[in-house]
């Protein structure tokens, strides 16, 4: 049921040629997808500087389809021994299709024992969510996951 409705919506969006515009019609007119992406990339630069993130190591668990964008569960984790010499310093979460790209930054210490946290977030529309992890050795790892949103969670 959910799947078929999401699929038909995808078709509609494709038909209109721009997902962001289609959702804008539902009350979330927040610029084009490309502008959103640029905003997210700008934020990423502010957070990690000139480093280039590598694929892998970091895991982002979110539902594929969120019926309600007001509260979407997420768990982010990094494979790390979390010793004083080798640990994950921070995981940033970025939502490329939200009015503000920043979601949260979770800083760990070796006392965390495990580089993993969970929270719940708002998603304005169907989009990619990024998890970016900075390690104590300076390396940066990144993953993206797409979440399809039935009802957006940022507007009034």
């Amino acid at each position: 049921m959910m799947r078929s409705s999401a699929a038909s919506r995808r078709t509609v969006m494709k038909g209109m040629g721009a997902g962001a515009l289609a959702l804008g019609g539902l009350g979330f007119g927040i610029g084009s997808a490309r502008a959103d992406l640029a905003k997210a990339e700008k934020l990423l630069k502010e957070l990690i500087g000139s480093k280039t993130p590598q694929e892998g190591k970091v895991r982002l668990e979110m539902p594929q389809i969120a019926e309600n964008g007001q509260t979407v569960p997420l768990t982010a984790a990094v494979d790390s021994p979390m010793t004083p010499d080798n640990y994950c310093k921070v995981i940033h979460i970025i939502a490329e299709g939200n009015p503000e790209a920043g979601v949260c930054s979770f800083k760990f210490t070796p006392l965390s024992g495990r580089a993993e946290f969970s929270t719940r977030m708002r998603l304005a529309q169907t989009q990619n969510v990024w998890a970016v992890a900075e390690m104590s050795d300076g390396s940066v790892w990144m993953t993206k996951t797409e979440v399809k949103v039935t009802i957006g969670g940022c507007g009034g």
Partner: protein, 109 residues
């Protein structure tokens, strides 16, 4: 606001070196600043913008929250427990309030 109440789930006991999960929930509106009231005036942003946790005074984690975090923020994370002590958590509100909660963990065996 008086209705902001942190709720936490912390194990009472742990083995030395055990990594335990902590779950937290705060009742808070997390007003994004994106919404408008019935008259069309923007509703000012008011969120919890930071969460910290220490164990026996040593930092465990420190989280920056943006308006994209849902109302009644739920946060769960882990802490490695080497000795008995007190876990202290603080939530920082845009309006300057700080909400606190703490719980003791006893290390057995």
């Amino acid at each position: 606001m008086t209705d902001v109440k942190p709720r936490i789930k912390v194990p009472k006991t742990a083995k030395k070196g055990e990594i335990v999960e902590i779950k937290t929930l705060v009742s808070h509106v997390m007003e994004t600043g994106q919404r408008k009231d019935a008259q069309g005036n923007p509703i000012p942003r008011r969120i919890i913008n930071r969460f910290t946790c220490t164990y026996n005074g040593k930092p465990v984690c420190d989280m920056v929250l943006h308006p994209a975090i849902s109302a009644n923020p739920y946060i769960s994370f882990f802490v490695k427990v080497e000795e008995s002590g007190t876990l202290q958590m603080s939530w920082f509100d845009d309006d300057g309030s700080v909400y606190k909660a703490e719980s003791k963990i006893e290390v057995t065996g």
